[in-house]
C-alpha cells in the first residue's frame, strides 16, 4: 500500500482561553515513524487529533498526501490507536479487530494471521474484559492495522501498561506497522520508547506546543534494541532528554 506524507502548515488551536498549539509546521515523510514527545499538557494529543481530522485547526492546513484528513478518513486510509484501547466490550477480540476493516470498508482477509502476529493466538473468541491490559493494546493495534492504513496515528498506545509489558509491546508491534509502510505518528511520554520505535523525534515545548528539537534517529538504535546501555542508544536518549529539559 502506498503511504501518504503528512504536511502540517502553521496549524494552531486554542480551547477557549487556552492556547493548546502555537503555529506548528512539519512535514513527515511517507512511510516514516515520527515520535512526538513533550511535557504533559503541551498539546501533543491535540496535534494528533488535528491530523486525524477529529479536531479542526483554528489556522493553517493539514494535508495527508495531498488530501484533507477527512477525505483520507472517508477512504478508510486512516487509523488511530488511543491510550485506552477502546475495544467494544460486547464484541470478541476477533470481531473487535474485524471492526477496523468494516469501518474502513476494506476486506478483513488476513484476520487470523494478524491475530497471531500480534500474539493473541487462542484469545480470538475472548471478550476484552477477559484480557490483560497489554493484550487489549495488542488487539487495539491489530484493529488499527487490519485496514492497512496509509496514515497510522498512535496516542500513547502503551501508556496504560506496566514497564515490562510495554517493552515487549515496543519490540513486537512496531515492526508490524513498519512492514506495512504506513506513515506513523506516535505520541509518547517515554523517551526510550521514542528512540526505540521512531525514525525521527520531534520534541515539543510546554503549552502551547512549539518545536524545540527535530532529531533524526540512527537506525542502529533500533538494532540496539532492548539494551539502553548501548552507546548509540544512550547518546540518542541523552539528546532528546537535553532538548526536553532545555525547553522547560
Amino acid at each position: 500500500m502506498a503511504s501518504a506524507s503528512i504536511c502540517c502548515d502553521a496549524v494552531s488551536k486554542r480551547f477557549g482561553r487556552t492556547e493548546a498549539v502555537a503555529p506548528f509546521s512539519a512535514t513527515l515523510a511517507a512511510g516514516q515513524t515520527t515520535a512526538l514527545v513533550g511535557p504533559s499538557g503541551c498539546g501533543k494529543s491535540t496535534i494528533l487529533r488535528m491530523i486525524a481530522g477529529l479536531e479542526a485547526p483554528d489556522t493553517g492546513t493539514i494535508r495527508l498526501g495531498g488530501e484533507s484528513p477527512k477525505d483520507l478518513a472517508r477512504r478508510g486510509a486512516l487509523a488511530m490507536a488511543f491510550q485506552d484501547p477502546s475495544l467494544l466490550p460486547w464484541r470478541t477480540v476477533r470481531s473487535n479487530i474485524a471492526l477496523g476493516a468494516w469501518l474502513a470498508r476494506r476486506p478483513a482477509g488476513n484476520l487470523d494471521a494478524l491475530i497471531s502476529m500480534v500474539g493473541l493466538d487462542g484469545f480470538a473468541d475472548h471478550r476484552p474484559a477477559e484480557l490483560s491490559g497489554g493484550m487489549r493494546q495488542r488487539a487495539a493495534i491489530a484493529r488499527a492495522l487490519i485496514s492497512d492504513p496509509e496514515v497510522l496515528l498512535l496516542d500513547e498506545p502503551f501508556g496504560a501498561v506496566d514497564m515490562i509489558t510495554r517493552s515487549r509491546l515496543n519490540a513486537e508491534l512496531p515492526p508490524l506497522w513498519r512492514a506495512r509502510n504506513a506513515t506513523s505518528v506516535l505520541v509518547t511520554h517515554s523517551v526510550q520508547e521514542a528512540v526505540l520505535i521512531a525514525d525521527r523525534i520531534i520534541v515539543l515545548s510546554p503549552r502551547p506546543a512549539r518545536i524545540v528539537a527535530d532529531l533524526p534517529v540512527d537506525p542502529a538504535c533500533r538494532d540496539a534494541g532492548q539494551d539502553p546501555g548501548t552507546p548509540v542508544f544512550h547518546d540518542m536518549t541523552g539528546k532528546v532528554l537535553a532538548a526536553l529539559e532545555g525547553s522547560m
Partner: protein, 510 residues
C-alpha cells in the same frame, strides 16, 4: 433458608394484615387477605377477564410509547440541534396529567381501546426517553473518535456503538415503564371504557364495596410488581449490569441568558399552538369536540368561565402543594435516616423499589374511604405517590458518595453527622431534585385522578363533569390550564435546583 425466611415474613405480614382488618375500629374500611381471597374466588372469571383486558391495552401502549421514546432519543443524538425542541415538547406532553388527556382522547377516539392504549403509551414514553438519552450518550469519547477516524458519521456510530451501549439503560427504562403502562391503561379506563380493571375499580368504589376495591387494588399492585420484576430479570439476563440513572431532563445543564430563554419559551409556545391547530385540522376533527386554540382563548375571555376554572384550579393546587412537599420531605428524610444505619438501608432499598412500582393511584379510592373526601385524603395520596420514587432516588443518591470521601472524613475522625451533612447530603441533592422535578406531573396526576374518582372537588371533577355534559370548551380549557400550571411548577422546581446545586454541586450545573 433465605427463601423460607422470606416466605415466613410474607405469611406473618398477611396474618398481621388480617388481624388489623378485623380488629381495628375502622375495620369497615379495611379488607383483609381472607375476605379478599374470597372475593377473588367468587368473581375469578370477571376479574381475570378484566385484568386481561387491561393488560391487552397496556402491552401495545408499552410498545408504542417505548418505541417513540427510543426514536426520539436517537433523533436527538444523531441530530443534536433538535434536542431543545424535542426535549421541550416531550416534557410538555409529559406534564399534561393523564387524567386530563384521557377525556380529550376519549372524545377524539370515541368508544374503544384507543384512549387506554394511548394513555399507556403516554405514561411510559418520557422516562424511557430520558433513560435512552443518557444511555445513547454513555459512550467513551474514544469510541466516537474511532468511528470518526474512519470517516463514519453519527448514524453509523448510533447503530454500531451507541445502540448496543445503551441497552442496559433501555432495560432500566423498560422496567420503570412496565408498571407505568399498566397504570396508564387503567386511567384510560377510568375516563369511560366498558371493560377492564379500571372499570371494575370505579364500580366497586362507587358502590362502596370494600372487599372488591381492596381486591382490585391489590391485584393491580401485584401485576405491576410482576411486570417490574420481569423486566428487571430480563435486563439482568440479557445485558447483565444495571446502571443507576438520574432521570434529569436534558439540556438543563447549560446556562443561558434570560432573553435567550424567554425567546425559546415564546418559540416553543407558538410551536405548540401551531401543532395543536394543525393536528386538529389535519385529521379533520369535528370542531364540536375538537377545540382549537382560538376556541379556548375565546371561551376564557369570558370572565364567568375563567372564574369557574380558576376556583377549581385553586382548590386542586391547595391539595397538591402540601402533598407534594410532604412526599418529597418524607422521602428524602427517611432516606437520610436510613443511611445512618447501613444494614437497614440495604434492607429498605428493595422494599422501596418494589413499592415504587405500585400504581398508588389505584389505591386512591381506599385512601379516600379511609381519610375522607376532605383535604387530608387527597394530600395523603399525593404524598404517598411521590414518597417512594423520592426515597429510592435519594437512597441511590446517598450511595453515590465516592469512597475516597469517606476515607478522607474518617481519617479526620469526623463523626456521622459531619459526614452526612458535608458529604452525603450534598451528594444526594442532584438525585433529590431530579425526582422533585419528575414528581411535579405525578403530583398533579394524583390530585386530579383522586378528584375525578373520589372526592368530587377541584379541576379533576370539573373535567369529569364537562366531559359528561359535552361542555368541551371547558374541558379543553381545563387541560390547557393544568398543562400551564404543570410547566410553571416544573420550571420553578428547576430554578430551585439550579440555585441549590450551584452552591452544593457546582460540577453538575456546568
Amino acid at each position: 433458608m433465605t427463601r423460607l425466611r422470606r416466605l415466613a415474613g410474607v405469611l406473618a405480614g398477611l396474618i398481621i394484615w388480617e388481624a388489623v382488618a378485623r380488629g381495628l375500629p375502622g375495620s369497615v374500611l379495611i379488607s383483609g387477605p381472607v375476605p379478599m381471597a374470597l372475593h377473588f374466588y367468587e368473581h375469578a372469571g370477571l376479574i381475570t377477564r378484566a385484568a386481561l383486558e387491561t393488560t391487552s391495552n397496556a402491552v401495545p401502549g408499552f410498545f408504542w410509547g417505548n418505541l417513540v421514546a427510543v426514536a426520539l432519543a436517537a433523533l436527538v443524538v444523531v441530530v443534536p440541534r433538535t434536542e431543545r425542541v424535542v426535549a421541550a415538547l416531550a416534557l410538555l406532553v409529559f406534564c399534561i396529567p393523564l387524567i386530563a388527556s384521557g377525556p380529550i382522547l376519549r372524545v377524539l377516539y370515541g368508544p374503544g381501546d384507543g384512549p387506554q392504549i394511548a394513555l399507556a403509551a403516554l405514561a411510559v414514553y418520557y422516562t424511557t426517553f430520558l433513560a435512552m438519552l443518557v444511555g445513547l450518550r454513555a459512550v467513551p469519547q474514544s469510541w466516537t473518535d474511532l468511528m470518526a477516524v474512519y470517516g463514519r458519521g453519527r448514524f453509523d456510530t448510533l447503530i454500531r456503538v451507541r445502540a448496543r451501549a445503551s441497552l442496559p439503560y433501555l432495560f432500566v427504562g423498560l422496567q420503570i415503564a412496565a408498571p407505568a403502562a399498566f397504570l396508564g391503561a387503567m386511567i384510560g379506563e377510568f375516563t369511560g371504557a366498558e371493560r377492564g380493571l379500571g372499570v371494575l375499580t370505579l364500580r366497586a368504589m362507587r358502590g362502596l364495596q370494600i372487599d372488591a376495591t381492596w381486591t382490585l387494588a391489590t391485584l393491580t399492585a401485584v401485576i405491576a410488581m410482576i411486570a417490574y420484576r420481569f423486566f428487571g430479570w430480563l435486563g439482568q439476563k440479557l445485558v447483565g449490569y444495571r446502571p443507576v440513572i438520574l432521570l434529569s431532563a436534558p439540556g438543563a445543564k447549560t446556562a443561558r441568558s434570560l432573553p435567550a430563554r424567554a425567546a425559546e419559551l415564546v418559540g416553543i409556545t407558538l410551536l405548540v399552538l401551531i401543532l395543536w391547530q394543525v393536528l386538529m385540522d389535519g385529521f379533520g376533527l369535528n370542531a364540536f369536540f375538537a377545540k382549537r386554540p382560538a376556541d379556548v382563548a375565546l371561551f376564557l375571555a369570558d370572565a364567568a368561565n375563567r372564574e369557574v376554572l380558576l376556583s377549581a384550579l385553586g382548590e386542586t393546587l391547595s391539595f397538591t402543594l402540601p402533598g407534594y412537599l410532604a412526599g418529597l420531605l418524607l422521602g428524602a428524610g427517611l432516606a437520610v435516616l436510613l443511611v445512618l444505619s447501613p444494614p437497614l438501608s440495604r434492607a429498605a432499598m428493595p422494599v422501596a423499589i418494589a413499592l415504587r412500582a405500585v400504581p398508588i393511584i389505584t389505591t386512591a379510592p381506599l385512601l379516600v374511604l379511609a381519610f375522607g373526601r376532605g383535604a387530608a385524603g387527597t394530600v395523603i395520596i399525593v404524598a404517598v405517590m411521590i414518597f417512594f420514587p423520592t426515597l429510592v432516588a435519594c437512597l441511590q443518591g446517598l450511595r453515590q458518595t465516592p469512597g475516597q470521601i469517606f476515607d478522607v472524613f474518617n481519617s479526620y475522625g469526623a463523626g456521622r453527622f459531619r459526614l452526612l451533612s458535608a458529604a452525603q447530603i450534598p451528594a444526594m441533592l442532584p438525585a433529590f431534585f431530579a425526582s422533585a422535578r419528575m414528581a411535579v406531573p405525578s403530583a398533579l396526576l394524583a390530585v386530579t385522578t383522586t378528584e375525578w374518582l373520589a372526592t368530587g372537588r377541584g379541576i379533576g371533577v370539573l373535567m369529569a363533569l364537562t366531559s359528561s355534559t359535552s361542555n368541551y370548551n371547558m374541558l379543553w380549557s381545563c387541560v390547557v390550564a393544568l398543562s400551564v400550571v404543570a410547566v410553571i411548577f416544573y420550571a420553578l422546581v428547576a430554578m430551585c435546583e439550579r440555585a441549590v446545586l450551584r452552591v452544593y454541586a457546582s460540577e453538575q450545573v456546568a
